[in-house]
């Protein structure tokens, strides 16, 4: 199934990425070639094979539900692009 520029634009929308018109053909071409590569998996019989999400089939440990770190707001917000009074600033969402 060939990949179209429209397919790429809809995936880009899901990923919150913008693709310039001038780059669309090139991006579509490379994206399509990668999909062709990964499509070879369809030929493998995986009937009844349990999907593997962790290489050791480990279950993640839970830790006790206790506070381990205190307030570090100032330190953490030092890396933010825009803050005010302890809040992260973003453009107006509701008019």
């Amino acid at each position: 199934m060939p990949t179209t520029p429209a397919d790429v634009l809809s995936v880009a929308q899901l990923a919150r990425l913008r693709i310039e018109d001038s780059a669309l053909d090139d991006v579509t071409d490379r994206f399509g070639r990668i999909l062709d590569l990964v499509a070879q998996l369809q030929q493998i019989d995986t009937e009844g094979v349990e999907p593997m999400s962790n290489p050791h089939d480990m279950v993640q440990r839970l830790r006790p539900d206790t506070v381990t770190e205190g307030d570090q707001r100032e330190e953490l917000q030092a890396a933010a692009p825009s803050v005010e009074d302890g809040f992260f600033l973003v453009p107006r969402v509701i008019d």
Binding site: L17, R30, L41, Q42, V49, N54, P55, A79, F88, V90
Partner: protein, 492 residues
């Protein structure tokens, strides 16, 4: 000073000099900083140098050494790949997205190595977000291979590999998601070990693909790798995927014989895609191991070729989820004058990420999207299990698997950047090991036209000790790991 060339010495040799006070940590650190200043302009292997901090840490190490209470690594200089969070020191992942990111905490690997007394010299260049096999996707310029500066050092830990090869530091950290420690180690002629998934904490390592990422040592010898892995390993309450498995004393077993060790040779690793001269070099290395008493056994890893397709679904899928956090709000790059929230997200991500990162986010988003999830992501996870089972079956007949770490020697800068698929093939012999979560390492096996070739050794889960023993016995017999590139200093 007993060692005539500090920049070529191994960590084990340097520890002995430091602990007997024939060499001070300050002297050693200064010589590394001088080497970086003289050679890094030609390589761009290091993107942040912490001169003041390093000299301060070296002075503290000297005090400890004087008091006689230093640890196994006290006073040894090291470099961290710029994917490890370092408190107060920029951590960029070689991306414009994180160009101004200064972490408020240390990665567990960083704090453990710091507590062991190492001196951090700086941070090394890498492919952006560790996505690449040549260090050419870095937002801060390519790194050049010290053996031939027209060639790539491999990637994504290319800066780390080039730095160790060029004598900037005896120790360097790397991370390996599909080959990012082993392939650059191979292309730069150093020793690099990717531990078993879960052996080393991932806390504070900027995430690429969380079920594949693992940090490991990049050094000049297997002994040095063992020294460093000892400190890096062990369960961490801050990483729920770190394994609560006993950490053996890696160095204590290294001198043991490999008499009777069964080394599996997968026919699929010697297929037509392997450079014939690399095949010969690997065969010669295997002959050396046979001379040491090992036995070679033919084994079968039938899904080797499908490893690439499997990896290029699973890794991008996990990456697309991990990288969704870069939205221009809490940290990282934010676009100028966003007109609304959607614009803020889209332009911050589009301007902050490079092409390869965006390509993988697109592929991963596609593979996880409604209607394609079963055909792509679930399918890949099923094939992942088949690949893992291939290794399990193989290890019923052997103790270690050996083959090349990469299909060829270092390639020319720019020669594969136009074709992502050609670049992806660089990791054909390494990425299955990540999919199966096994330990793997690359050790220098010789030169072809003055460019290094790495022998890859793959072990059972949590059996790094056997890999290190085989690698050490190999290095006791050979001197490939001692050959260093001849590299002119800038201005000389």
């Amino acid at each position: 000073m007993a060692l005539d060339n500090l920049t070529a010495a191994t960590a084990v040799e340097l520890v002995s000099e430091l602990q007997t006070r024939r060499l001070s940590a300050t002297e050693l650190t200064q010589s590394c900083l001088n080497r970086i200043a003289a050679v890094n302009p030609r390589l761009n292997a290091v993107i942040t140098v912490c001169e003041e901090q390093a000299l301060r840490e070296a002075a503290e190490a000297d005090l400890m050494l004087q008091r006689g209470d230093g640890g196994p690594l006290t006073g040894l200089p090291l470099l961290h790949k710029d994917i490890f969070c370092t408190r107060g020191v920029a951590t960029t992942c070689s991306s414009k997205m994180l160009e101004n990111f200064v972490p408020p905490y240390d990665a567990t690997v960083v704090s453990r190595l710091r507590a062991a007394g190492t001196v951090m010299l700086g941070k090394t260049n890498m492919d952006e977000f560790a996505m690449g096999s040549s260090t050419e996707t870095s937002a801060f310029g390519v790194t050049r291979n010290p053996w031939n500066t027209d060639c790539v050092p491999g990637g994504s830990s290319g800066g780390a590999a080039a730095a160790v090869a060029a004598g900037f530091a005896p120790l360097s950290t790397g991370t390996d998601t599909g080959g990012s420690i082993r392939q650059p180690a191979s292309l730069c002629g150093i020793t690099g070990l990717k531990p078993t998934y879960g052996r080393v904490s991932r806390l504070g390592i900027i995430a690429f693909a969380s079920s594949l990422d693992q940090a490991g040592p990049m050094t000049r010898t297997a002994e040095d790798a063992a020294l460093m892995l000892q400190v890096m390993s062990g369960v961490d309450p801050g990483d729920s995927t770190s394994a609560d498995v006993e950490v053996p004393d890696f160095r204590s077993q290294m001198g043991d014989s490999i008499q009777g060790l069964r080394i599996g040779i997968p026919q699929q690793y010697f297929s037509q895609s392997l450079d014939a001269r690399v095949a010969q070099t690997i065969q010669a290395a295997l002959d050396e191991l046979v001379q040491e008493g090992a036995e070679l056994v033919d084994i079968d890893l039938p899904h080797t070729e499908q490893g690439i397709a499997t990896y290029y679904i699973i890794a991008p899928a996990e990456a697309s989820a991990n990288l969704s956090r870069y939205d221009g709000v809490r940290f990282g790059y934010r676009c100028e004058a966003p007109k609304d929230l959607a614009d803020l997200y889209e332009r911050s991500r589009t301007e902050g990420f490079g092409d390869e990162v965006k390509r993988r986010i697109l592929v991963g988003t596609y593979a996880l999207s409604a209607g394609f999830y079963d055909a792509y992501f679930k399918k890949a996870q099923q094939v992942r299990r088949l690949i893992s089972q291939d290794f399990k079956h193989a290890f019923e007949h052997c103790d270690v698997i050996a083959g090349p770490a990469a299909p060829g020697v270092a390639f020319g800068l720019g020669s594969k950047t136009q074709d992502p698929l050609a670049m992806y093939l660089e990791d054909i012999y390494t990425l299955s090991v990540n999919l199966a979560g096994l330990p793997g390492m690359s050790v220098p096996a010789g030169l072809i036209d003055d460019m290094p070739v790495g022998l890859q050794l793959i072990g059972r889960a949590f059996d790094e000790a056997t890999l290190l023993r085989a690698a050490h016995r190999f290095q006791l017999r050979t001197d490939h790991h001692r050959i260093r590139p001849t590299l002119a200093e800038v201005g000389s």
